[in-house]
Amino acid sequence: MSTTIRDNRETEARSAEPEQFVVPTASVVEENDAYTLRVEMPGVTKESLEMSMENNELTIIGRRSLPTIDGTLIHYELRRENFRRMFELDPSIDAKKISAKMEQGILMLTLPKAEHVKPRKITVS
């Protein structure tokens, strides 16, 4: 029941086609100053990350590398495709100040809000 083995033919065929991607899961938390976006991409390191912004659209590509194991695969579940996801950012996000951190397969992006949209207290004099 669980001895599925994918043979090498698939990998060779794939190299002739456009790159296939899977969509990583993500979470977003909003705070007063910024948004924190976390994207789960196990097997991706900061060197294999590619991020770009165009017209408020943030594209994240993470190329994963699974450990090379000397042996026969006898049970297979992990997908080999790379990750790609696009996010449309609200214009209130200051794109120049986005910072990123990659740790144990989780990409954490801090997206600071532009000054004018931060909540401000108004005092009555």
């Binding site: 029941m1 669980s2 969509v23 990583p24 899961t25 993500a26 979470s27 977003v28 938390v29 909003e30 705070e31 948004y35 924190t36 976006l37 976390r38 789960e40 991409m41 196990p42 097997g43 991706v44 390191t45 699974l66 450990p67 194991i69 000397d70 042996g71 026969t72 695969l73 006898i74 049970h75 297979y76 579940e77 992990l78 997908r79 996801r85 696009m86 996010f87 449309e88 950012l89 609200d90 209130s92 996000i93 740790e103 144990q104 397969g105 989780i106 997206l111």
Partner: protein, 155 residues
């Protein structure tokens, strides 16, 4: 074999799956929709998530490769009992001060994944490494389980 089926993010087993089907669109259009309050109580409902696992074998070892992003290695419990390898732990939520709005597709809470090993391994020699969110467990085969050459004697 006591496997918990791996669910891809696209086919989440969560009971409120219909609410989540538009979640990806929501996240992709960050901030344009009102936020829900934080989503903390799914522990017992989300018994469907378990990490994905590949199993390899060579002459000397079984090797399990498990996808487990965002853990600290101290929080990963690996155990071996009666030929069943179990990976368990708890995926913690981001620290919350209760004031934030948040939305998540990521599973948070306890998980447990077991796989029955087809070959006997030496429990005392099991080792594991955790890197880039991938856990690699190396399980050396028990001596009698390794392939042996048998010489045919000429009589």
């Amino acid at each position: 074999m006591s496997l918990i089926r791996y669910q891809t993010p696209e086919s989440a087993v969560w009971p409120w799956a219909d609410r989540w089907s538009s979640l990806r669109d929501d996240l992709n259009a960050l901030l344009e929709l009102p936020f829900w309050s934080s989503f903390g109580r799914q522990g017992q409902l989300l018994s469907g998530w378990a990490p994905a696992l590949d199993l390899y074998q060579n002459n000397d070892n079984l090797v399990a490769v498990v996808e487990l992003p965002g853990m600290r290695k101290e929080d990963i419990e690996i155990s071996l009992h009666d030929g069943i390898l179990t990976i368990a732990g708890e995926r913690k939520a981001e620290p919350s001060n209760g004031e934030k709005a948040e939305r998540t597709e990521r599973y948070v809470g306890k998980f447990r994944r077991s796989i029955s090993l087809p070959i006997r391994v030496d429990a005392n020699k099991v080792s594991a490494t955790y890197r880039d969110g991938i856990l690699t467990v190396t399980l050396p085969k028990a001596e009698e389980a390794k392939p042996k050459h048998i010489q045919v004697r000429a009589d």
